[in-house]
């Protein structure tokens, strides 16, 4: 589904991703862990199409096609979803309007007919229950005045609405209490299927108690320095990142 080969990314002449390789197949869950500043969010943003970063080398294939050529909206239509580490507040744009536009764009792309207002609201109601999101939140502007936890739940809610093929969740777990964490995990697990895949970026092992990854990768200084199964996450939890850094530097 996704093949990343020797990817290099810079911002303002500073190289952040320094030769990154990863292959994700349908049905898999990958966890990417790593200390702050190692480049996790940069990687996620580049995959979603943020143009402030400059790709200086390597390639990314998504379903066999060059992903980096495509606009962010095209990637989204083809099933890519990024759960933002810091979701953006958009004053004046209502959640309903925002999501209706997004859902209908997607349906247009898939050759489905546009949802009527009532069908859309019904769909919203169902998905809201799934993520246990406070129902008044959807009457507000996108993320405006949402608490940290509400913003994260809102990312999962959007994911549930858009039903992506490949979701990349960038620290959707950080700053969440145990209930919210369960909701986030639940959202990911509900979408899990043979046709879909997820990349879960996380700092802590905690989330991985709920979302069982098939692979765990450690990103350090723009490169994957270690890969393994879910036990690697436990090891990191126990020993911290120091030993990884030491190993990587020698």
């Amino acid at each position: 589904m996704l093949k990343i080969k020797d990817l290099r990314v810079s911002i303002e002449d500073k190289e952040i991703i320094k030769g990154f390789n990863l292959e994700v197949n349908a049905g898999e869950v990958h966890a990417i862990m790593g200390p702050n500043g190692s480049g996790k969010s940069t990687l996620a943003a580049v995959l979603a199409g943020r143009d402030m970063f400059r790709v200086t080398g390597g390639k990314v294939l998504y379903n066999g096609e060059d992903l980096l050529e495509k606009s962010p909206e095209q990637r989204a239509k083809e099933g890519l979803f990024l759960g933002f580490q810091y979701p953006i507040e958009i004053p004046g744009v209502s959640m309903v309007n925002f999501l209706k536009t997004a859902v209908n764009e997607l349906r247009k792309y898939r050759g489905q007919k546009q949802l009527s207002a009532t069908d859309f609201l019904k769909m919203m109601r169902e998905k809201k229950e799934l993520v246990e999101i406070d129902s008044t939140l959807t009457n507000r502007s996108v993320n405006e005045g949402f608490s940290g936890g509400e913003k994260k739940k809102n990312e999962i809610f959007q994911m549930a609405m858009l039903e992506p093929k490949l979701s990349i969740l960038d620290e959707t777990d950080s700053g969440l209490d145990i209930d919210a964490l369960r909701v986030v995990a639940n959202g990911v697990n509900k979408l899990k299927s043979k046709e879909r895949a997820s990349i879960v970026i996380t700092h802590y092992q905690r989330l991985l108690d709920y979302i069982i990854p098939d692979f765990v990768h450690v990103l350090y200084d723009g490169r994957i320095v270690k890969s393994g199964g879910k036990d690697l996450a436990l090891l990191l939890e126990e020993k911290g990142y120091e030993w990884i850094k030491e190993e990587a530097e020698t």
Binding site: G49, G92, A102
Partner: protein
Amino acid sequence: MSTVKEKKDIKGYLADLFQNNRDLIDSGSSPPLNRHREKALSLFRKLGLPSRKSENYRYAPLGDLFEKEFAHSFNVKKVSFNIHDIFKCDIPDLDTNLILLVNGKYYNSENPLREIDGGIVVGSMAKAATEMPEIFEKYYNSMAGDTGDGLVAMNTAFAQDGVFIYIPKGSVLKKPLQVVNIMIHETDLMAQHRNLIIAEENSSARVVVCDHTLSANSFLSNNVTEIFAAPRAYFSMCKIQNEHNGSAQVSHTFVKQQRESNVFTNTISLHGGFIRNNVFARLDDEGCENHTLGLYLTDKKQYIDNYVKIDHAQPGCHSNQLFKGVLDDQASGSFNGIILVRENAQKTNAYQANNNILLTDDARINSRPQLEIYADDVKCSHGSTVGQLDQNALFYMRSRGIPEREARLLLMYAFAYEVIGRIDVKPLRNRIDDLVNKRLRGELSRCNNCVMSCG
């Protein structure tokens, strides 16, 4: 009439134009209006046209606007047309809802003054001046006459007609009144009309004004409106400027408010090559409330200039200015907002905000908030921003599959809605909402549709 203008002496040219056509101007108007002309002309001779040296017009490229060759509305025969041919839509209740000015003159000559909702008088200014002389004399030019602006004096000298609205004590105008200003002529035309609105004690009324051009000629209009709000009167006016880009408009609005009155004006500028809006409001007694709002959505080479002065002359008044604009292409403009709080005006609350989004590197705006505060117990604030669309918000939306164009529109629309959302009549708000949406989408090239009556 002379056809060659001395470029340097445009003031002299306009004064001569007046003198040479005095009979024509008078005969197309009425004696009470005519009696104000001579004095206004001397004032115009004294003041001249505003130049860039005059502080108030520092940024406005009035330049050669007045030097162009125009026919003048006093010289133009009544254009006759069937309104239904021109407006594509069906306008119900023409006689009660709608007032039409064509090239500055009241159109319905069979019925120049009419009464609606028991006692409210609406109609032709020239007619009202003779029919209601006491009211007319008490108010006409009582604010505009003190101006230091030569354009206002010129209007008083030349204006033959316009809209007159009298809302007597305690009366309520149920449906909003719609005034449609149409400019239509087979050559380039200059017109100057004059409106007078008197809202007596405890009255309530809402007016919508739409400016349209219906032929492709150059137009120049220089209009003056005086609004008087008596104690506890409520008056709101929403003006939609939608002339083609070959037209220029200078619009002066004077507002005088008495105790606990509430006046709301909202000017929405969509199309028009050169637009200058002046709003002067004097809060002349305690407890007044004033809301002066504006929204401008411009592109190509449009120029939009809003100049607002709120004069807090008495204690305990509240004023709020909110102007927002989105400028595309090489559009440019200026905002000047002055809050004057006089020595005696304690417990004043006065707010002002001007926010702009520039969509290109070539678009420009000058934003100048000015506070002149001579009282000590006041709450004032002003803020002015000039920025671009939020790139993070754009990316967020696009990452959900929303195309860039749509994402930009959603952001622009969200920005504009703060002004639209304050329109107090829901159907009108929805109409304007729709117009703004169309404007942002570039689907409103020349809108002949009235905001109130058609879709």
